[in-house]
Point group: C2
Chain length 210, copies 2
């Protein structure tokens, strides 16, 4: 009789944002880690954590801790944002609710462009920043950060990605991140870099006892 295959660790992707869920799944799947990725949707009643932290690190930890505690499984979460030089790094941790309406990508993007309408071209430098947090039920925590530097353009272009992608052109690129293929974007993106930084730790997650 063949021996039963060993159980794979399960890892919860602690985000309610469907765009992020897709990106995280894609990025981690590409690492061919020996884990089962589970969306938050599989845990009815999982806490909807308000991102009230002052920093990306605080918010990523808030979310991953809450979900690890609720599910009893290791959880990864990220907090990401667009940081504009001409706005002292804002929208930053407020990126998702910049216009005052959480998750309204079109309105958030429109507001940033309006705010920067009189800012000269040479001060439209910006970067995307992502902090990824892995929290185990045991309490062990691992953090990883990724940055993608570039500049803003005044006319949105492209329909891939989400958030501020249509107005962001990475250094060395002519395309916005909304014009790039998923693979091209993941290879350089803040979120790709941050999550790949967790791969080694994810690979050491203990296998569940059957």
């Amino acid at each position: 009789m063949p021996s039963e295959p060993e159980a794979r660790p399960r890892l919860v992707l602690a985000t309610a944002n469907p765009h992020k869920l897709i990106e995280l799944t894609r990025i981690l799947a590409a690492e061919r880690l020996d884990v089962d990725l589970v969306g938050l949707g599989e845990f009815p009643g999982a806490p909807d954590v308000a991102e009230t932290g002052a920093t990306f690190v605080a918010n990523a930890l808030l979310k991953a801790r809450a979900v690890a505690a609720f599910t009893g499984l290791p959880a990864v979460a990220d907090d990401s944002g667009l940081c504009c030089d001409a706005m002292n790094g804002m929208p930053g941790v407020l990126s998702a609710r910049w216009s005052g309406r959480h998750g309204d990508d079109a309105e958030n993007l429109r507001l940033v462009l309006a705010q920067l309408s009189e800012v000269p071209e040479d001060r439209l430098r910006a970067h995307f920043y992502c902090v990824a947090a892995l929290v185990r039920p045991s309490g062990e925590e691992t953090l990883s950060a990724g940055t993608l530097r570039g500049r803003l353009i005044r006319e949105p272009r492209g329909t891939n990605g989400f958030g501020y992608d249509p107005i962001f052109v990475p250094d060395g690129e002519r395309r916005t991140t909304a014009e790039m293929t998923a693979d091209d974007k993941d290879a350089i993106s803040h979120r790709g870099r941050a999550f790949r930084g967790l791969a080694e730790t994810i690979a050491t997650l203990p296998r569940p006892v059957r």
Copy 2:
């Protein structure tokens, strides 16, 4: 025959914002300086300078320089703003056009409150900041800065003042700056402090030759 009284220097208040003009006139008049304050409205065709600088200092100098050059008279200008701790000091130099609509006080204020709606009470610290610049036609430039520290409240109160006054409570006060009398506000305000810092220099302006 009595000798003709000596001519007083004229000083142009380089602002097109009627609220600011009133405040500046009031603050400088209280210093009983021996100058004639002149509004920008007396100089048809005076340049409407875009505030494209990256800093309060740059913007104040931009405006004062342009008006001194245009009028041939000494000019004072200020650049002021609300700096919120939870937004890395923004709206800052973008305070007047935060919502994307320049000078729309109600909309700017509403946006700040919406952006900070999930920020905990203890991180609603903010300050008003003002840089005042005096530029003489000779090219001499004097700068002065003033700060008013306090905190934001979520429900606007008061109808005096302008801009973000209805949501700002100075340290040591229970009133918003929009609930204070003009005298009380001027005594502690960022603009009062900045402009009083110029008084000594204004007092040395050369009297015009008749």
